[in-house]
Symmetry: C2
């Protein structure tokens, strides 16, 4: 058991694992001679931000204007908001641009013009490309549209053209193995290089995202900047696709056991959708996997207990499936750990977090 | 458009609809001569609690010790925590029991004894029965186990036996139509009556939960207390199973439009998993439905826009599918509304909420 009292669901961070994850990714980025601009939406914490700063990071990525304000308050002065500009937040954007080196995302000429009208200070602009995730961005094959926007930006005095931004969100699901991923990345990289050449701006940064490819691939050719985020903690989804080892997962949710049901190979824990979110991995026979069960040790947690997994979530209830011999070993009043499927959403959902040493780790509070 | 500024995702509450939902359920409970002990986990708000109080409610249900403390601070003095006792929170439970009439849930003789040892003040006890959801509780057919626990409780000086508690969680999914639901409820009611008779305690309350059956069924025989919660706001899941009309849904998430993709019948809104949770309704052709699109009016919102729905969520991004003719009508910088699939989780996830009149509605903040 950890050395401090746990009475309700908390996020527990293994700082040593998180630091190792940060150092490994930073070293890899250095080997590739790219700017390392990690995404801070995973941890959302000023304290964890300091762990990155101590590792030499000075540029970051966030996913909302609110998050940018939070990290600006924590002394970060070069922040990219990797989300299409929300014109409605122009006041908040202007406040940010007056105090830090702010980078924004655009994919639309009309929005570029409106933004330029409304801005009071210059900002850096990345053009958002869709490289296969089909979530947002200009499809990278639509060269004319990219070139038009790239040209338009140079006409607008408050917009400083900085880069082309890609996020291969498709790699989080059905990555199709490392060979297919490498082949996709090579194709994307080639097309981005072609766009850069057509735009004719040597200084244009090719900015690349996503934890799966930054973790798994040996070669990420021709990109100038990496923005992975999830790798700081990893999770079962990343383990599932091969982006990390189980031992790299740096967060577990501490859940009190409240009832044992050996007659159906289950126990109930205090820890539900409001702590984990409802992200799951679809498993065989229509089962949903919401987490792996671990036991806390004095300064961390065990390997996952074979055959024990979080199989159902309602608001505060978590149903754990486990072999009957194990069900009989647990008792109400104990605390178990659960490795989450998606650490970004779990971190966002759980209110309170501590390191394994019992140090409180504050994060953004939007309420 | 609503008459106040919206710049980022907010929960908007239609107070008139919520009040009508409260009054309708309260009137139905009165017709059935039952105690109305609504579940407050859906709204988690002291202000919304006052709407219930003004409608005559003086007993409530919550799903955590933390929530009980919050509502005790808001003047509620008879609170049932409808979650199996978490022995680790004994200090917090003792603090609560010293100031309010506290009701707890038990399903295990060993836990009953441990609880009695640790309690400093008497509490009311409901025995949790599993009536088909298989989440937790003693299976209602295990009569011996129920009788043993019921007898044990009378031997323990701090535990006052109050009732048998059922929550038919199965009705939220695959309810199998109103006739099947009515038949199930009749069976459960009969079995609970039988258990009550065997226990031989005339004053034992049969406590019944769940918004679907309390909304849909004309007859809920022999129960003494109702604890529905979701009905205050309802949502698409309840609409989907027939528990409410679209017009009864009392919450919508306001989402700024940030990008339009008519080439694939989509637009992107600021509003993601951290606002909606990831609950979905499985629709045809493997589509997932995360919400219906509405337009805000001066004092509320429109009917859902036919053919427009939230089809994908990542952390802050929401992908809306919509016919191309509609996609061309929206512009970045507008605000649209989304009726959520599961209001309880959405309320929990969205940080900030207002009524349609622009009144701030504070809720619990666990961070």
């Amino acid at each position: 058991m950890l050395s401090f009292d746990i009475v309700k669901p908390l996020l527990i961070i293994d700082k040593a694992k998180a630091l190792a994850n940060i150092q490994r990714m930073q070293a890899k980025a250095a080997t590739h001679s790219v700017v390392f601009r990690p995404h801070f939406k995973t941890h959302q914490s000023g304290v964890v931000g300091e762990w990155f700063r101590q590792a030499g990071v000075d540029k970051i990525t966030v996913s909302s204007v609110s998050m940018a304000h939070y990290f600006a308050d924590h002394g970060w002065d070069d922040i990219l908001i990797a989300f299409p500009v929300n014109l409605l937040e122009i006041k908040q954007i202007n406040r940010l641009a007056s105090r830090i080196d702010l980078q924004l995302l655009l994919e639309d000429t009309a929005v570029a013009n409106q933004l330029n009208e409304l801005l009071e200070h210059p900002v850096g602009i990345y053009i958002k490309l869709d490289v296969g995730a089909h979530r947002t961005g200009i499809p990278m094959e639509n060269e004319r549209q990219v070139l038009e926007l790239a040209a338009e930006i140079t006409k607008l005095d408050k917009l400083k053209r900085k880069g082309l931004l890609a996020h291969a969100g498709q790699f989080y699901h059905n990555p199709g193995g490392i060979t297919a991923m490498q082949s996709d990345v090579n194709t994307i990289s080639k097309q981005l290089g072609r766009l850069k050449q057509q735009i004719g701006d040597e200084k244009l940064l090719l900015s690349w995202g996503d934890t799966p490819s930054c973790s798994m691939l040996e070669s990420l050719p021709d990109f100038d900047e990496w923005r992975p985020g999830n790798f700081v903690y990893y999770d079962l989804m990343q383990y599932h696709i091969g982006a990390c080892q189980l031992n790299d997962i740096a967060v577990a949710v501490a859940c009190p056991v409240v009832a044992i049901h050996p007659e159906r190979n289950e126990m109930l824990v205090y820890g539900g959708a409001v702590h984990f979110s409802k992200e799951f991995i679809a498993a065989d026979q229509n089962f949903r996997l919401y987490g792996f069960l671990v036991k806390f040790t004095e300064n961390g947690w065990s390997d996952p207990i074979p055959g024990a997994w979080l199989s159902g979530l309602s608001q505060e209830h978590g149903v754990v499936k486990l072999p009957v011999v194990l069900a009989q070993q647990f008792k109400p009043g104990e605390v178990v750990g659960v490795l989450p499927v998606h650490s970004c959403l779990t971190v966002d959902a759980v209110g309170i977090q501590y390191t394994t040493e019992g140090e409180l780790v504050p994060k953004i509070n939007f309420a």
